[in-house]
């Protein structure tokens, strides 16, 4: 078959057809993958919540206005099997990691002590800041059981109490800010309506 000539109607029809076909194909793929994607994200979040508040049976989700920024943070109030309150998981973030956005989740007990913390999302440099994704590393475990009113959430270089990840001060600082944001917001909602 001869190649189509570049006349205006030809071009409009061909491009239009290609666009219509590819977009319907994409719509199809989107519909098929929508549920699995939502499921993956939900399982990941649920796992993280039960990680940071061990013994959790069910949780209530609500938003609290951030103590520092404009956004609101999501809180997960956790209860055990007997319906007793065992702690609150707070999803917090920082926009200034070495590669931008990082997201963490922290569990606080009723006294405001950190139970556990895990990073949820991070795009830090592999071999450097990405070491924060290792939930058994000292950088993550050093927070366990600490109360941020006495354990200053700043790296030692900045006069705080946190051991930074070697050669990844910017990533460590971002993590500290996210922890601090979680704690400050947790305090503000404790003194407030809850």
């Amino acid at each position: 078959m001869q190649k189509l000539k570049s006349t205006l109607p030809n071009m409009v029809i061909v491009l239009g057809l290609i666009a219509a076909i590819t977009s319907s194909l994409l719509a199809l793929v989107y519909i098929v993958t929508k549920e699995p994607i939502a499921k993956v994200q939900e399982t990941k979040l649920n796992k993280a919540i039960s990680d940071v508040v061990p013994g959790l049976d069910r949780f209530e989700e609500y938003k609290v206005k951030s103590a520092i920024g404009e956004d609101s943070l999501t809180f997960y109030k956790a209860f055990n099997k007997d319906g007793e309150y065992i702690g609150t998981a707070v999803k917090s973030y920082d926009n200034n990691g070495f590669n931008g956005y990082i997201e963490i989740i922290v569990g606080f007990d009723e006294n405001g002590n950190v139970i556990k913390d895990v990073p949820l999302k991070q795009g830090e440099t592999p071999g450097l800041g990405a070491k924060m994704a290792d939930t058994e590393s000292h950088f993550i475990t050093q927070w366990f059981g600490k109360n941020l009113s006495s354990f200053t959430p700043k790296v030692k270089k900045d006069g705080g109490d946190v051991d930074a990840i070697t050669a990844a001060t910017i990533s460590s600082r971002a993590y500290c800010r996210a922890m601090d944001l979680a704690y400050q917001t947790y305090l503000s909602q404790k003194g407030g309506n809850q």
């Binding site: 190649k3 061909v14 994409l26 071999g127």
Partner: protein
Amino acid sequence: MNQLQNFSKGLLRENPILVLVLGTCPTLAVTTSAINGFSMGLAVTFVLAMSNMFISLLKNFISDDIRIPAFIVIIATFVTIVDLSLQAYIPSLYESLGLFIPLIVVNCIVLGRAEAFASKNDVFSSIIDGLGMGIGYAIALTVLGMLREFLGTLSIFNYKIFSGDGALMFIMAPGAFICLGFLMAIANMLVKKLK
């Protein structure tokens, strides 16, 4: 040129990274570890083979003046399909590659093959060309990833070989350029020898 030659040219003689030096931006960025390089290579192989196939099928309907937008739309479609499927079915991989998958759209090698090969050849040769080029790309990325991961963290595929920390420079951008430079030198040496 028979199909075997058509396939094997992408592996070394016209390797997209080591000889043609196309699409090096994502290459340098993702090859911080062997597994990242390998999976990026597979994603690109899929996109290349599929877009080559469709562009070759449609080549007679796409007139010269609109070929670039038409190719890009087709390529972007397959990239988005890969993106969504990874997100749904291999979330761990999506996390490490996330940012770079959408960038396959602007990877020169994909548009380059569409323009230079698929728009002039029949469907079967185009698929073979896409597969060969893609696998050549994947090999180059995997080797580069292994080299950088080994030098940077002393492990390969997350498997610790020696204890210790390695030279972090190789994980960062400068190390990427140095490793790629040496690999290109070796590849060009091999190509010359084979001639």
